[in-house]
Amino acid sequence: MFGVIVGLSAVTVVARSFFFLSNQDWQLPHWAQRGLQYAPIAALSAVVVPEIVMSQGAFITTWQDARLFAAAAGAVIYFSKRDVLMTIIGGMAVYLPLHLGLGF
């Protein structure tokens, strides 16, 4: 098992350094360079959205889900306060009562 753990650590290094493992000279094509400015937000959205609207691999069919309310509250808080910490705290302040109190 420890061999697998060391192997997974190597996988982390290789994946996160993939394109700078080698320092051979090459230029990224211009279009790809431009495309990369859309990659960070796309990656975050791809991780975040399924965590909010899916449950056990399926699209949720109820509005009674604490995550929907918490995410909506979080987005409103972010755009009014521009503060990620407030987004987390405010979102959890909506999430926990609904989830633990009402079972959403």
């Binding site: 700078f20 495309g35 791809a46 975040v48 965590e51 609207v53 987004t87």
Partner: protein, 245 residues
């Protein structure tokens, strides 16, 4: 660790990197905590959980690997799974290459190893272009190191705490959702142009639609779909967007 290099930690940008990560630290910690809890709950032993936390340092690949390890899957299956779940980092590394390529290889790999999602996003948000002079390059490296340092620290402390307290924090409480709210906040902060909002919407829809793909490949598909669509829109309507402010 390279954070111990005085030229980095004594640099003013190191502190700025830490300060810009600080608001996210709570979300990172909540996520680390629940990853720690999940490892123990899934039946990984105490020492294996600790070793995994300290070495692997990649929440999504840890969570994907745990059930396979517990079920005794062959090592190569576990490693390939880990790599596929980490494919988004391959995209990030393409972006980071011009910023880091001037460094010696082992320093590049160390930076790559500790730069996870949030640090990558904050770094590329602060520095739109790779440094051209040695001073600019050092500024950027120091910022990244400060950012990574606090990210690594909050993740590790919380994850080890999660391992220790696994029996007292039921996953059903959903504390890990704080990590998602953290990413959501950063996502909102990046929505600075119309095309980026398009990118966000397309990636979200694509990730849900392609959710059935194995190995979290839906994330890679979603990034590709969003980037390709935004590049096409740029061509059709070049005036809707130039560089973000």
């Amino acid at each position: 660790m390279m954070f111990l290099a005085p030229k980095l930690y004594q640099h003013p940008e190191f502190k700025i990197g830490m300060r810009e990560l600080a608001p996210q630290a709570l979300g990172i910690a909540a996520w680390g905590l629940m990853t720690g809890v999940s490892m123990v709950k899934a039946g990984m032993g105490l020492w294996a959980s600790i070793a995994m936390t300290l070495l692997v340092f990649a929440g999504s690949s840890q969570l994907a690997a745990i059930p396979l390890i517990v079920a005794g899957a062959p090592a190569w299956v576990i490693l390939v799974t880990g790599f596929c779940v980490n494919l988004r980092f391959v995209v990030f590394s393409l972006h980071l290459r011009p910023y880091l390529i001037h460094l010696p290889r082992w320093e590049r790999l160390l930076h790559g190893y500790v730069t996870a999602d949030i640090s990558y996003v904050l770094f590329t948000k602060r520095f739109h272009h790779p440094g051209k002079t040695p001073e600019e390059q050092l500024n950027q490296e120091a910022y990244l190191a400060g950012n990574d340092c606090l990210n690594w620290g909050s993740w590790m402390v919380a994850s080890l705490l999660g391992i220790a307290l696994a029996n007292f924090i039921p996953p059903s409480w959903g504390l890990g959702f704080a990590g998602i709210l953290c990413l959501l906040g950063i996502q909102c902060s990046l929505a600075s142009t119309r095309l980026r909002m398009v990118s966000s919407a397309v990636a979200g829809i694509a990730a849900v639609t392609a959710y059935a793909l194995p190995l979290k490949l839906n994330i890679v598909v979603a990034i590709a779909a969003a980037v390709i669509l935004c590049l096409s829109l740029e061509r059709i309507k070049p005036h809707i967007q130039r560089r973000p402010a």
